[in-house]
Point group: C2
Chain length 147, copies 2
């Protein structure tokens, strides 16, 4: 069975093939079962909020019929932006695992540092740098090809 980060990488590559910024995400439950997986759909939906993380969270909650994913892990190829970081908190995700760090757009270890803000009610356990080189390479290849 592929690891969650491998599934997220598959979603990132599929997003790139659709002309989307290649970020992929997957929500797994406490037993490691995949509840939902998604890649970016910003272009296809004309929706800048359609980041992989938000789509995967929303789909996982729909599968469960429960707005809280308290026992779940979100695995994503890139450090989440502030919007996604806050959404991850709102869905009460237990653990966030991400691949590449994003000094420019990230909101977990950089920028707004959402989980460190006083207004943050739920912060997941955070693990960064999973398959960091591979996750970053997918993004760099995408942007290099567009220049």
């Amino acid at each position: 069975m592929p690891l969650p980060i491998e599934i997220a990488l598959e979603e990132a590559r599929a997003a790139a093939a659709r002309g989307e910024v290649p970020v992929g995400a997957v929500v797994t439950d406490a037993a490691g079962r995949v509840l939902a997986r998604a890649g970016n759909e910003v272009e296809a939906r004309h929706d800048p909020s359609a980041h992989a993380e938000v789509l995967a969270l929303r789909a996982a909650a729909a599968v469960r019929g429960d707005k809280f994913l308290t026992d779940c892990t979100l695995t994503v190829t890139l450090e989440p932006c502030p919007m996604c970081a806050q959404a991850i908190g709102f869905f009460r995700i237990r653990r966030l695992a991400f691949g590449a760090y994003d000094p420019k757009g990230g909101g977990v270890e950089h920028g707004a540092r959402i989980y460190a803000a006083t207004s943050c009610h739920h912060a997941p356990e955070v693990i960064g740098g999973l398959r960091e080189a591979e996750c970053g390479a997918v993004l760099r290849a995408f942007f290099a090809a567009r220049r």
Copy 2:
């Protein structure tokens, strides 16, 4: 014709009647035309990301068939949370007008202060305190009735 903040207040009251935290939002274009309006649908959708702002932004972009709302104003009854503040930036909203300030959950004038973060690429013009007392009263009445 009602003002945008009056439309947002209507949406907030309609949300309260559905058992949702009463926040309402409306997107208007440069001519003041209403592109989309929404209230919170967190409970109905089992989706903690279904805040009024995100729903209104997504609907407005769908109406336009364009992911950027560069000429538009988002008017909302409560200071946006960090998730919504970042989404407002991603949709490139020109002006954000909000009603009540939210010292606990807000991400514009409080907490993560999204538009002040180094990772913020687009910050709207911000006007806070529109019909502040009325917007706050709708929220207080909702929570008082649930205690």
